[in-house]
Symmetry: C2
Subunit: 386 residues, 2 copies
């Protein structure tokens, strides 16, 4: 197997793109990535997406992507693992390049969630959970996360307000990201005052419904330097799985799939959590950020919230997270999120993250979660230098 | 890259499975395949499916599959390319095993289309076409195929009745397949009398709406013989693509993606059409069977129908197709179809196709079509003998 590098990135802004269809979002992100990589042909396109069939009545996104991008004859299909679809598409591309079957792969994440009623979007998102044993009880996806947050607060004695810094940090970072949906800071007071969506989850605990597309170009490490001035090597690509329904998990607060996925990734890369310069985690809700920090080995059980309280998750902290705004402030166009996380990490590793640059960032970990924790995919990236 | 073999197969019957959910269909087919391969662990599961989000409100099928099958911790996600989802899942597994990253992969196709109104199913299937430029005009997926059939009849002077033998042959073969949806022969007279669905397509030109799941286990050829008494080698795996919308294709009757896909497959395998013992083509509609025979090099342009009229497509003919009933009689649970085609081909190559056995079958080609021809995936299989 060959080592694989990222040689190009592209993204649209994350927003309510009322005037832009799925195909245009894919085109914008995809062509930016091809241009950034300075290539005009590609061997395969893998599209990470969750909801286009349900919301836009458009399946078959692989064919649409290559057709509309003018990539005539290039093989393409969609990869879906709920909100981890982006990382699953990346992993599919990673395996194809590692195998030697493909030299250049475009992994593209896209989601357009706003072309329907909020009620329909909520129903479509619930399909990430267990339709027959969770959703049929009337629970929504936010409500599942609310149960986890409630249990966590009960178990470890935290108050809702203690989670504020996850949202505050994400918004502070999003303020400097021109592609973020929310480019304004918020205060802990605003967090505390936010309306409750599904108690104890308030509006500012939750990532927004939005549209966007992001893309990366993969190539073998051996050619990467001839194609890109600053390639980024994929040191690890690892998947962890847990039962689909929360009630089937031995310990719902352990985020078992993140533990497995992180451990596999550390082993592949020969690294420990202490070696990483940042951790792009999946902060769809503040409780998910907390559990991710614990599962990935940055905090003890029940202590993830303490890291936020102590400011350890800011750009200057011990473990910077959501460095360009995270799911909370950059936005969470579900099937695209996993690729946005990668694109932003590449910016950090190229030293091009602007005001949010982590000085000397060389190693970053990225984790994308599907459902309430059933599919968790981790990648570790390393700057190859120019 | 390593050569890849199929060492196990499983399938449920194709039917209106009112009492069986998606998870049970996956379980039945998946466990049968594991049992057939005589393995109890697996490295990855790729699920080919098109409509579970739309029809069952259940996305995230990869996680559901491994959870319900008891394959704890095994990585899994869904692969979608409209009606070619099954072959796309197989190809994903093929690349993973060829790369050396996985040793044992389960490629599973599943579809449950009957748990909703026919109107909703028709709308969901239309998502395989171009939502904004075809479906928004009011056209259904059957109607798109009807336009192709009408044009073909006009261009080459065929009558609707000339297509009868595609349906007659499929039903004759389905009559001996205990897993087929329709296990009864039909006559050319019944075909001619069938009600029109979208002129010139009648009920007996079209494959049925149905439920089913099928599965195969992949392993490196080097180990295959130690695991299976009769492994089948994948000699070729090739994808062809064409514009998503019929009106964007240079020549809608050429099935361009099937030409590319077949040519690539012949080249990979070092074979010509004459070398093949059978051709499991994608007879979702009789016109698709016709165009597939032409595109794959078995008939000249405009002459595919002649092969049916001459009986060349029967089990005793020059190019047996739909050997276990095809999409028409076995049924077309869309995302599962590509895997059913493979399972049935493996039966032929193992000499276990019962009354439908093609004597001495050693080489078979399988072709799965997404949309009206935008994604076409071809595999060539070879018996490795016992």
């Amino acid at each position: 197997m060959r080592d694989v590098a990222i040689i190009g990135i592209g993204q649209t802004s994350v927003d309510e793109h009322w005037g832009t269809g799925i195909r245009h979002l894919m085109l914008d992100a995809g062509l930016s990535a091809l241009q950034d990589a300075n290539v005009d042909t590609i061997d395969a396109v893998y599209v990470g997406n969750m909801l286009s069939g349900e919301i836009a009545g458009q399946s078959h996104l692989g064919a649409l992507a290559v057709d509309f991008m003018g990539l005539e004859g290039v093989e393409a299909y969609k990869v879906e693992a709920a909100c981890a679809s982006g990382a699953a598409a990346l992993r599919t591309g990673y395996i194809a390049v590692a195998s030697g079957m493909m030299d250049l792969v475009l992994a593209l994440g896209v989601e357009k969630m706003t072309d329907t009623s909020g009620r329909e979007t909520t129903a479509a998102l619930a399909a990430a959970a267990d339709a027959e044993y969770e959703v049929s009880q009337g629970i929504s996806f936010v409500a599942l996360n609310a149960l986890l947050m409630r249990r966590y607060m009960h178990e470890y004695g935290w108050k809702r307000e203690d989670f504020a810094n996850f949202a505050v940090t994400a918004h502070a970072n999003g303020a400097n990201n021109p592609n973020a949906m929310f480019q304004r800071p918020i205060t802990a007071e605003a967090y505390a005052r936010a309306p409750v969506i599904a108690s104890p989850i308030g509006l500012l605990d939750a990532s927004p419904v939005c549209d966007g597309a992001a893309a990366v170009i993969l190539a073998p490490v051996e050619y990467a330097r001839t194609l890109s001035p600053a390639p980024v090597k994929i040191l690890a690509s690892a998947v962890g799985m847990a039962p689909l329904a929360v009630h089937d998990r031995k310990d719902p607060l352990a985020l078992e799939a993140a533990i497995t996925s992180s451990q596999k990734a550390y082993k592949q890369a020969g690294l420990t959590p202490q070696d990483l310069d940042f951790f792009e985690l999946h902060d769809a809700f503040t409780i998910m950020a907390t559990l991710s920090l614990e599962a990935a080995g940055f905090a003890e059980r029940g202590k993830g919230v303490q890291m936020a309280l102590d400011g350890e998750i800011t750009l200057q902290g011990r473990v910077p997270i959501a460095t360009m705004g995270g799911l909370k402030a950059r936005g969470h166009p579900v099937g695209a999120t996993g690729i946005y996380q990668i694109v932003e990490s590449v910016l950090q590793l190229r030293g091009l993250a602007g005001p949010n640059q982590i000085p000397g960032a060389r190693l970053g970990m990225v984790q994308n979660i599907g459902g309430s924790g059933a599919t968790i995919i981790t990648h570790i990236l390393e700057a190859m230098g120019s």
